[in-house]
Symmetry: C2
Subunit: 339 residues, 2 copies
Amino acid sequence: MPPPDPAHRRLTQRDIARLAGVSQTTVSLVLNNRAGADSRIPAETRDRVLRVIRETGYVADPAARRLAARRNRILGVFTYEPVFPSATGDFYHPFLVGIEECAEQFGCDLLLFTSAPTVDGRKRVYHQDNRLRLADGCVLLGRELDREDLARLVGERYPFVSVGRRDDAGGTVPYVGADYASAVRDLVVRARALGHERVAYLGHGVGAESYADRFRGFAGVVGRPLRLAPGEPADMAERVLAAGVTAVFAEEYADAAALADLLGRRGVTVPGDLSILTLGDPTRPAPTDIDFTGFLIPRREMGRQAVEDLTELIEGGPPVQRLLPCELTEGVTLAPPTK
Amino acid sequence: MPPPDPAHRRLTQRDIARLAGVSQTTVSLVLNNRAGADSRIPAETRDRVLRVIRETGYVADPAARRLAARRNRILGVFTYEPVFPSATGDFYHPFLVGIEECAEQFGCDLLLFTSAPTVDGRKRVYHQDNRLRLADGCVLLGRELDREDLARLVGERYPFVSVGRRDDAGGTVPYVGADYASAVRDLVVRARALGHERVAYLGHGVGAESYADRFRGFAGVVGRPLRLAPGEPADMAERVLAAGVTAVFAEEYADAAALADLLGRRGVTVPGDLSILTLGDPTRPAPTDIDFTGFLIPRREMGRQAVEDLTELIEGGPPVQRLLPCELTEGVTLAPPTK
DNA sequence: CCCTCGCGCTAATGCGCATTAGCTGAGGAA
DNA sequence: TTCCTCAGCTAATGCGCATTAGCGCGAGGG
């Protein structure tokens, strides 16, 4: 590549140094406030340098900075599912709000790894020419992270924090998750207290950690846990009714909404004839006016906390795993059973 | 900073070179597919290098790459108003969708400049220690961009594209805007065709380019354009009625919604007694069930196009300014005047 | 008068890569 | 044989910065 037009070449520390009549080293020292015992800079010199910097509007090249100092104040954000495109977009949005807030607070920029190509319908961190190392560390977002990716990140000692609990992958995976198990357990206990004996879990209950955790919480307090696969929406209502339960715990909010709708058409009232509880926020659009009883995922807080943990990890701290409590929502879809 | 534990030091081209029994230069050449006449590499050597790269999973350090090659495939996104926090969030979301889509298509990552501190209630591109130059170029988003920022970007020949038309700022400002003037004109013409003679523009009509453009379109086809400042919502309805017009063109969707609501309470029907037209999508939450006649801003497309123009600008292309057409919405709030 | 000593600074180096300018050895021409 | 060519590489350099080692100098001590 030809060298850029010198007239428009941007300023470097050397330029500043020349203008201030000092060395490049001194500029760097002033810039980074390195007033250590090994290199003191009198106020006069410092002011002179700072004045030139102010007048010229010099800003350090972050790439060079990263190369030399291995630090950037840039945090990566990798999302396994598309964030902006709106199907799941509204679900991930609050996480990003938290991430953004906290990043701003720490004075960090956010690098969204949008370039990751989609292979077999999934994104992968490690692809040809990934730019992971441009950031000091990375926040991982998505329902299902690739286990190979995780193992490799762990193996390479790359600083990252997962939003959402993850099973170990060849080492400790740092995460900020939601305490689904406890939240589900609390809901079941509450339903029990109202008299519900025959209850069902509507959902997969396996696969993604978030599903498994919910079902674990359910199975932990229900003797012989009954699980109904969501399956075809069309006959979901039938299967639920056939199960002869008085309360349904829906893994997916959208399933709860669909179920309520289907039941309504059949004249089955909620919560009169059947109680329905939601186990988290909608991950897909679920048009409904019903104020479900259930719990909310502390998404924003999870985002914030992930960034906080990440910065500490980058500083050399130990990997931490933590679960944040979910907030129960009163709602109107849980009532004592009538039959 | 102490050198990192060599056991965990990540691979460099030199490591690859050693493993493949070639020089670092060769690795670089293979990696960048530099098969020019000046440096030919036989298939055998190339394959050997590629195999080592594959086996080790080597990926080039993007910071070093940027430093040496001055290219990054990272596009910056600077937003003058907060994007995620949800007040205006829903308005900006579609722009980001378009930006993200197009960036992915081009294999670019997105750098969100979240670290820009808010000064005097506004964000500024140029602040202490900004990281603009980490990206190859930048997309600017926001209703009102800072003119000083713009002038400086232009002056420094920094590649950027504004989403939304901007007046020149010491040079041509590349933008992808919405053709508000034409859209408003079309709406006025349409209202005229239905018999509306006395019409009013409800809004500022000055300040941000997007406001000015709308009013310009309005004033261009209305003899003595009447402009009503939005002012206090409480008496907005009174002022509109006092103006004795048959159709109102509302700059802000939220104002249209508020107006319709206020009129409804007074028994004034829309569009029976008064037609109301909206000039774009809601920039603030506007709860309403009304299907307004007006137009939509091609936000997603604007985002896409901005990224496309930006990449061409980075490639050395000329700055382009373009306006995208707005889509008229039929709606139910425009009808022939009754008085 | 020499000899520390510490202050205030700078020369030199390397981060990992892309790029330019060669260098080497084999094969062909003279 | 000698020279030339050219394919196939490599050494060297610099991108802009942070960092390390250390230089020159004046003050204070012996």
